[in-house]
């Protein structure tokens, strides 16, 4: 008896050992992927010119920047622009002999994908980011600065676009297109576009019929769309052009004034903030029940065939001041992990040229960021686009510092709660909002 038990034990342990052998062969392949961590790439204290410092003027290759031998590029592009991008890629290959493949990836996802795929070396060499996403990408060291073409970019693009593509004083982006929201209005319902909020209120008093879902005007109660009630009254999010997170202006006198004015509009839009969603207002505007809609150029296609459409800048405030909107700037950026940094720069520069921005406008309706392209007749004479362009002149770029993430949710909460409950004390609520934002900044 004992004997058989013994031999069984032996066999078991031998088997287990052999199974482990199998396992080990698998794991040995798994963990041995070559690059030993014991050797850093260079000593940490070698002399380095910090980017943004003075540049040496001794650059022999400046005049003739050539793509690397055997370079090939991959570009991420959102669905609506893939067609345009494919043409652009073909043009680029004709000119520089560098093949470019286009991979579809929606605009909002590119930043997150870059964070994971960049260091793994499988991300696109050139990508498009809305400027409010660059803070995080720069912080993580995922983008190459726009260094070679810096002066050219600065001299050819709209100032707002430059500001938006810059982070910590360093220019990273090659501006592609700009966008802001303005006032869409239905010419069949309101003959003359309102110039001021007083005109809007006067019209609303004659038009509103909540029982029939007829409303004069709607906008979404999120920080982005409702910013005019802050910016037009002397309020701001962060100080120094939204770069100084130590200085929060969301409970200063201007913002309080703006929110008080906002509450005074409850009479012309007697709805809960949560009921006004993008879907709801889009549908009402299409059905011809909503007379005015604050929205951006991305919705033109949805309204064009349904509504006798006009676009004008946002109504002026109670003191006759222009309404300040938030603008977004999309720019091309070069992935810092690209194998072909020169070719990548050349492509981003090529794609952001005046001609290509105009071609993009023709194919997809993207509003150019280039000064010269903005003066082209096809932009100037377009009744819809010119309205956006005019509003763009009174806009500030959305903050791009990563601290802005602490703002959106609390700010939205402030808008929603102050709108839904006109009895709330504006100053107190805003103080609470600022406290929440500060607590969040400190927790990081």
């Amino acid at each position: 008896m004992k004997k058989s038990k013994r031999s069984k034990m032996q066999a078991v342990s031998f088997t287990l050992a052999l199974s482990l052998l199998l396992a080990l062969t698998v794991t040995a392949c798994g963990s041995g992927n070559g690059n030993s961590t014991a050797q850093p790439n260079s000593s940490p204290n070698s002399a380095v010119n910090e980017p943004g410092g003075t540049t040496n003027e001794t650059n022999p290759a400046e005049e003739e920047l050539k793509p690397e031998a055997g370079a090939k590029l991959m570009v991420w592009e959102a669905k609506e622009q893939v067609e345009y991008m494919k043409q652009l890629a073909a043009d680029f290959e004709k000119e520089y002999g560098v093949p470019v493949t286009v991979e579809e990836l929606s605009g909002g996802d590119q930043g997150a994908r870059l964070a994971t795929d960049g260091p793994s070396k499988i991300a696109a060499d050139v990508l498009t980011l809305p400027h409010d996403q660059i803070g995080q990408a720069v912080t993580a060291g995922l983008l190459l600065p726009n260094d070679v073409f810096e002066e050219e970019t600065r001299s050819t693009m709209v100032e707002t676009a430059i500001q938006a593509s810059t982070y910590d004083g360093i220019l990273y982006g090659y501006p592609k297109s700009v966008e802001t929201y303005a006032l869409f209005y239905n010419k069949d319902l309101i003959s003359e576009a309102p110039k001021t909020w007083d005109d809007v209120v006067a019209f609303a008093n004659t038009y509103n019929k909540p029982k029939e879902n007829k409303f004069a005007i709607m906008w979404e109660f999120v920080g982005y769309y409702s910013y005019p009630f802050i910016g037009s009254f002397g309020g701001y999010i962060y100080g120094d052009n939204n770069t100084n997170a130590k200085d929060i202006g969301l409970n200063n006198e201007g913002t309080v004034k703006g929110f008080t004015f906002l509450q005074s509009l409850k009479g012309i839009l007697p709805l809960n903030a949560g009921d006004i969603t993008y879907d709801v207002k889009t549908q009402l505007f299409q059905e011809g029940k909503l007379a005015m809609n604050i929205d951006g150029p991305w919705s033109i296609a949805a309204f064009k065939d349904h509504v006798n459409l006009g676009v004008v800048p946002l109504p002026k405030g109670p003191d006759g001041q222009d309404s300040v909107s938030f603008s977004g700037v999309k720019s091309y950026y070069v992935n810092s992990y690209t194998a072909y940094p020169i070719a990548g720069r050349l492509f981003a520069h090529f794609a952001s040229s005046k001609e290509n921005q105009l071609k993009n406008f023709e194919m997809t309706g993207a509003i150019p960021a280039s000064i010269e392209a903005g003066e082209a007749p096809q932009i100037k004479d377009d009744p819809i686009i010119s309205g956006f362009f005019e509003q763009f002149q009174h806009s500030v770029p959305m903050p791009s510092i990563s601290e802005i993430k602490s703002v959106w949710e609390p700010l939205k909460a402030a808008f929603v709660s102050l709108w839904n409950d006109p009895g709330l004390d504006v100053k107190k609520t805003l103080d609470q909002t600022v406290t929440t934002i500060q607590a969040d900044l400190e927790s990081k």
Binding site: K3, R6, S7, Q10, A11, V12, S13, F14, T15, L16, A17, L18, S19, L20, L21, L22, A23, L24, V26, A28, G30, S31, S36, T37, A38, N41, N49, E50, P51, T55, N59, A61, A115, P119, Q136, T139, A140, G141, L142, L144, P145, D147, V148, L271, N272, A273, G274, D275, V280, S402, E409, A413, A414, S417, T429, T436, A439, D440, S443, K444
Partner: protein, 435 residues
């Protein structure tokens, strides 16, 4: 010194030596080869990775300017190093297990020789393996897969809770560091975090209980109702009631989101048409909670109903007949026969559903996205569950370390509750229902 001790000691020093000492040449050779390969990798490869796991990198990547061109100098990527280190750690554990087994083998064979029993030849050992221990061999590969594809990511996400990996400390331009229990302390001591955490946790538990109870009771009741002998067209009713389950809940939830719109949704339109005021379904904190519970019932009741159908058909008829002989009415038959049988069979599922409801991401995320917003919360709304809050923290706010802390809390909650209550069910104790 007895042979077993000698063999074990020799094998402990170098794998295979003890086997040689036991005159098992081939087996010894196999062990020696595997052991030396393992030790080679440990010395030359794994130690570097393990050091990386401890330091999490020494030099971040940075930009260097040469003339006009900026170049990136690649540095250490803390997160990649953490994963590499974990793989190395697991490989080390595998090797340790192998080493222990080789000592054990030498010891056992040595003991067999001490006792003058016959020793297996290599061929015999192999045959034995193929016959009696076939299971170990076959399971080895899936076991490795589970370790590296399931357990490793789990450990990785637990580890994140003990680092400072959160915006703005983002690799590769920054190095992530171990911070011990710092995040947990913050969670408890910082007011904004602790009040949000408390509020969201409370609502999560309330939600899990109500959601489970409503769907369970609803499902069982409907099943019993349809099961009544007097009901005609059983198949038709069954099919109709399965439909909500058959439609992907992503679609039905997004449709409901529009249906429940306070101003423009059809539900309030009907209510107004009959002269009622309508309810702020999604915008009022209390009603929003009611709405998600209702939506969850719509999705969850069919599942329990199907289960209950299955149980109901297995209840022997003679029990009902016996109950009738004893003079039981319909209600008593339901209480004393049907309900205990259904409960007994579905209790484990009830627990599964509870655990699932703690993490019912879809209903909340698609229906309300955690709204209405709560200005006193940190990135969470009134209807956010822990799991949707975690999602928002990780994906919208890049607060990976905090998200991971919440992940651990969720895991502990679900695990302890599930194990505790599962062990108390009768089906676990394998008692018979009808003793």
């Amino acid at each position: 010194m007895p042979k077993k001790i000698g063999a074990a000691l020799l094998s402990a020093v170098i794998p295979g030596l003890g086997q040689f000492y036991n005159r098992q040449w081939l087996k010894g050779l196999v062990f020696l080869l595997v052991g030396s390969a393992g030790i080679y990798f440990i010395v030359y490869d794994l130690t570097g990775y393990l050091r990386g796991l401890i330091t999490l990198g020494e030099f971040p990547s940075r930009m260097v300017k040469v003339g006009k061109l900026t170049r990136m100098v690649e540095g250490d990527h803390s997160i990649f190093m953490m994963i590499d280190g974990l793989i190395a750690l697991l490989a080390l554990l595998f090797y340790t297990a192998f080493h222990v087994l080789n000592i054990r083998d030498a010891f056992l064979v040595g003991a067999a020789r001490d006792g003058r029993w016959t020793i297996h030849s290599f061929g015999e050992s192999l045959r034995h393996m193929g016959r009696r221990n076939f299971a170990y061999l076959v399971l080895a590969i899936p076991f490795v897969a589970v370790v590296f594809l399931t357990i490793l990511p789990l450990i990785f996400s637990v580890f994140l809770a003990f680092t400072n990996y959160a915006d703005p400390i983002l690799p590769p331009a920054h190095l992530v560091d171990w911070v011990g229990f710092g995040n947990f302390k913050k969670m408890i001591s910082l007011d904004v975090w602790s009040s949000t955490f408390g509020g969201v946790l409370t609502w999560t538990l309330i939600w899990a209980v109500i959601a489970t109870v409503t769907t369970y009771i609803g499902g069982v009741l409907i099943a019993v109702l349809i099961h009544q002998p007097r009901v005609r067209c059983k198949k038709l009713w069954r099919t109709l009631l399965i439909v909500p389950f058959a439609i992907p809940n992503m679609i039905s939830l997004l449709v409901m989101r529009n249906m429940f719109n306070n101003q423009f949704g059809p539900i309030n339109s009907y209510l107004r048409a009959v002269g009622l005021d309508g309810v702020a379904w999604l915008t009022d904190p209390f009603w929003a909670k009611v709405t998600v519970i209702l939506a969850n019932m719509w999705i969850g009741i069919p599942v329990t109903m199907i289960l209950a159908f299955g149980v109901l058909t297995t209840i022997p008829r003679d029990m009902y007949e016996a109950a009738e002989v004893d003079g039981a009415g319909a209600f008593y038959k339901f209480r004393m026969v049907t309900l205990p049988m259904v409960l007994f069979a579905t209790a484990p599922i009830l627990i599964m559903q509870f655990a699932g409801n703690i993490n019912s991401f879809n209903v909340i995320y698609l229906m309300t996205n955690g709204e209405p917003v709560n200005p006193n919360y940190q990135y969470a709304g009134h209807t956010d569950l822990l799991v949707t809050w975690l999602y928002k923290l990780a994906l919208n706010q890049s607060q990976y370390s905090f998200a991971s802390v919440i992940g651990i809390v969720i895991f502990l909650m679900v695990a302890t509750f599930s194990i505790w209550s599962y062990r108390r069910t009768r089906s676990y104790k394998e008692e018979d229902m009808i003793a």
